[in-house]
Assembly symmetry: C2
Homo-oligomer: 315 residues x 2
């Protein structure tokens, strides 16, 4: 990576993790934090993962070879507009958003033609937020999808590829439209469903809710981790990938209605056939090395027990 200075706008989980990758791999690079929150700017300096910080985004990008937008997707357009006057000739601008078409539409029109935009999306995260939640290993072994524009020059694509490879990610190239559809299925729908089910439980009468929390390990708990993800980030994702999300929610609802009907009429055949099919998908994911096949005595990893968990988290 051949940068003198990199600006990261938005020093949350993702932005601060990228800063930590740069600190680790390119200690000579100057890192500038641009964030609308003065507290976050201070924290970035305090943590030693930025050399300077500013809430003025045009100032923050001045002189930077690479600018990374790591803000919620709904904020990308406004950030691009605000920083544009400060962008250096030949700078590469990239982002990390979970939606590509809407971000491209909102960012591109604000950028001067002497900078290059490379839309990207590292598929990584935790349910924690903020500059302290980041860590350099976040992207290790994960996918980073780059969705180049027809006009993006090869060297700009290579710059962003180098960043993600340095972070330990496997880089993939995709069309923006396809990215948004695939992510609607693999990420946005699962999050929407998890938010819904946890919301449904949170509306229960108090005495029932206490038991739901107590016995959450029987399935519910798996959904609560996902449903603890950043609210603003996810609000923006759903609204900005509206078309693909609504299409896939519609399919999901039809399928759920079918199962609901089978339960009401006691149609065991429909249920059993469906459940046998879904088991096969798990097998394919294991075969694709995206999950493992744990077996006897691997239980503590499979269904974490409170004691083991406390040990694992070092508390």
């Amino acid at each position: 990576m051949n940068f003198n200075q990199v600006t990261i706008i938005g020093f949350g989980l993702i932005g601060s993790s990228i800063a930590r990758v740069l600190r680790r791999d390119c200690p000579a690079v100057r890192i500038v934090c641009g964030d609308s929150s003065l507290d976050v700017c201070k924290k970035a300096l305090e943590l030693g993962i930025a050399n300077s910080a500013s809430t003025d985004l045009a100032e923050a990008v001045q002189g930077s070879d690479l600018v990374v937008l790591a803000v919620p997707v709904g904020a990308c357009g406004g950030v691009a507009e605000a920083m544009a006057p400060g962008l250096k000739q030949g700078a590469v601008v990239t982002d990390v958003g979970s939606v590509k078409q809407a971000v491209i539409a909102s960012v591109k029109r604000h950028l001067p033609d002497y900078v290059d935009f490379v839309p990207a999306h590292p598929i990584a995260g935790t349910e924690h937020s903020g500059p302290e939640a980041g860590f350099a290993e976040l992207f290790q072994g994960r996918w980073a999808i780059i969705t180049p524009l027809p006009e993006t020059p090869l060297n700009a694509i290579e710059t962003v590829t180098a960043l993600w490879e340095s972070a330990g990610s496997n880089v993939e190239f995709m069309e923006p439209r396809r990215h948004d559809l695939v992510l609607a299925i693999t990420s946005h729908l699962p999050h929407l469903i998890a938010y819904t089910i946890v919301g449904t439980a949170s509306d229960l009468e108090d005495h029932l809710k206490a038991d739901v929390i107590k016995f959450s390990a029987s399935g519910f708990r798996d959904f609560t981790r996902i449903a603890a993800s950043d609210p603003v980030m996810w609000r923006d994702i759903f609204i900005n990938n509206q078309e693909a999300v609504l299409e896939i929610v519609q399919r999901f609802t039809e399928d759920l209605t079918g199962l609901q009907r089978a339960i009401r009429w006691g149609d065991g055949r429909v249920l059993q056939d469906m459940f046998a099919r879904t088991r096969a998908i798990r097998r394919q994911i294991i075969d694709a090395k995206q999950a493992d096949y744990r077996y006897p005595n691997q239980l503590s990893a499979l269904v974490p027990q409170p004691e083991a968990l406390r040990k694992a988290s070092g508390s």
Copy 2:
């Protein structure tokens, strides 16, 4: 535990794990495997976790002090009927089903009045099935819910309590009706939703499905493990807890429709408020020590990476 002989009917994941607990804790106890599958009977003997085995259930229960039904909930009535003639006077009969009211109704009427029935439900499992998938630690640190009948004598309840305490479980007592409602929310609905979402994905066009598997770590993967659970077991659970499941599915669907509408109309406030509420529920589960709060550098535990996973599973 004061048994000479225990019969376990159904030597799958749960039944064979109970056998392993007994082998470990009461090596003098004779274990009888009752299973309608001759292959499973042979396997139980081969694994050394049963002293004898029979596909004739009345024969299998003869002389046993404790009989554990570890078959899918829809099979409990038929099993009770088949084994009844062989039951010894004063025997304790228990089960492990995830539904209690329907099992009580179907089992009780077949049992002679000289045996005692103690309905129970260990909240434990993996997505694997069969006698080889079991292990003695399966129940360690997990809940075991006992839902005694008004006529169940205390000593029979104590017998079943001792079994689960020996397995390392925390025993709780509950009314059958409440059990079925709480489990509908914490376990049955999450499983139904996971089955649905994985089913929706499995209906996608092939080229899209390949990408869904490839990028499954972005949320979808968490659902596939749950949706790989035993198809017959889950078919029976949904059909036998129909009322509670349909009630909670109805609430879920209403809530999902509300979010769908907010996405369509771009109503970010509704989404963000909801997502902030669900984050609070996660916090309560962590406070209740039913999940941990992993933080930076605990990522390998949080979002398993293929390499780490292969190591963990020892392959």
